[in-house]
């Protein structure tokens, strides 16, 4: 049966009316979006590396405790939210709508926790340390030398800001999917696609966290 379907799909793949990737249009669309978005983040991270490498001194302001411990907790939040998202999708496979809503809400709570923690960190850097997009605090210049690049804030706020925006959008997206699922207006595919987006946001953080935080630990 499955073999027959497969052969038919291969034979008529160029004739139209079939799906050569064997996924729905919406899911393929999300994969293509993820592909392009991953290149946006890659470009930003490469740009950051470029600026850092060609600077005389790059500030490494994060102390292991509390800064790195704090951002590790944020990472754990995001990783755990990926796990709850996986649980939502597997509840959806079983057709358990209330389970889907429950796990989606758990994912949203963890995502929101990530945003709140991140904003606390931003506020600390902006208000307490005095970091600005194109200017580092006087204390950092004293600590790292006059050649310390003023672009630290630009790279930090742009990359983590764009990522935070993705998490924020994701929380809204999952909220919509949860509401529609509760109203029995979603298919399994819709839940799965929202999962793809959410895991992608997690995946990006797996590169942002080491590159922005772990490589900027105070010596």
């Amino acid at each position: 049966m499955a073999e027959a379907i497969k052969n038919e799909q291969i034979l008529s793949a160029w004739g139209g009316g079939v799906r050569p990737y064997a996924v729905g249009d919406k899911k393929l669309g999300m994969w293509l979006f993820i592909l392009s978005d991953s290149l946006t983040f890659a470009a930003l991270l490469v740009g950051y590396s470029y600026v850092r490498l060609s600077s005389e001194v790059w500030p490494t302001p994060f102390s292991f405790s509390p800064s790195i411990v704090f951002s590790t907790v944020m990472t754990a939040c995001l990783l755990s939210s990926s796990f709850t998202m996986v649980m939502a999708v597997s509840a959806s496979v079983r057709g358990n709508r209330s389970g889907v809503v429950k796990w989606l809400l758990a994912t949203m709570v963890l995502g929101a926790a990530f945003i709140v923690l991140h904003l606390i960190e931003w506020m600390h850097l902006i208000n307490d340390e005095g970091l600005r997009p194109f200017q580092i605090p006087q204390a950092w210049i004293t600590e790292f030398g006059a050649g310390a690049s003023p672009l630290f804030g630009a790279t930090f706020f742009t990359i983590t800001g764009l990522h935070m925006f993705h998490v924020f959008t994701g929380v809204i997206y999952l909220g919509v999917i949860a509401a529609l699922t509760a109203a029995k207006r979603t298919s399994h595919e819709d839940v799965e696609i929202s999962g793809l987006y959410w895991h992608f946001v997690d995946l990006v953080w797996m590169f942002v966290f080491p590159m922005i935080y772990l490589l900027s630990i105070k010596a």
């Binding site: 991953s38 399994h188 080491p210």
Partner: protein, 105 residues
């Protein structure tokens, strides 16, 4: 319409949990590397290696790519890898050049 319903390879709860534990474990190693203060170049290589493993785990299991048709995998993964490699290949030599220019000032 729902032509993909026949191939929902369901990953078990246990399997998902194991993948999640691996992700947490690899993150812990990364944080530990930060704690012991390695040289920046060594640190960068090790962190990127670990992060690529984590990204592969997320894509293969959480994003279900391992269970999709090969044509989809071949459309997405090589495109991503090649584009990012090109970004790195074209940008980095130039940043090293900027670094060397300053030494002669």
């Amino acid at each position: 319409m729902a032509d993909n319903t026949h191939e929902h390879a369901v990953i078990s709860f246990k399997q998902n949990l194991i993948v999640w534990l691996w992700l947490i474990f690899l993150t812990a190693i990364e944080v530990f590397l930060g704690y012991i203060h390695l040289a920046v170049n060594l640190m960068l290589v090790m962190l990127m290696g670990l992060s690529i493993i984590k990204a592969a785990l997320i894509m293969a299991y959480f994003m279900h790519l391992k269970f999709e048709r090969l044509s989809l995998i071949l459309t997405i993964v090589p495109a991503m890898v090649i584009c990012i490699s090109l970004l790195i290949i074209f940008f980095f030599p130039d940043s090293f050049r900027a670094l060397n220019l300053r030494a002669f000032q």
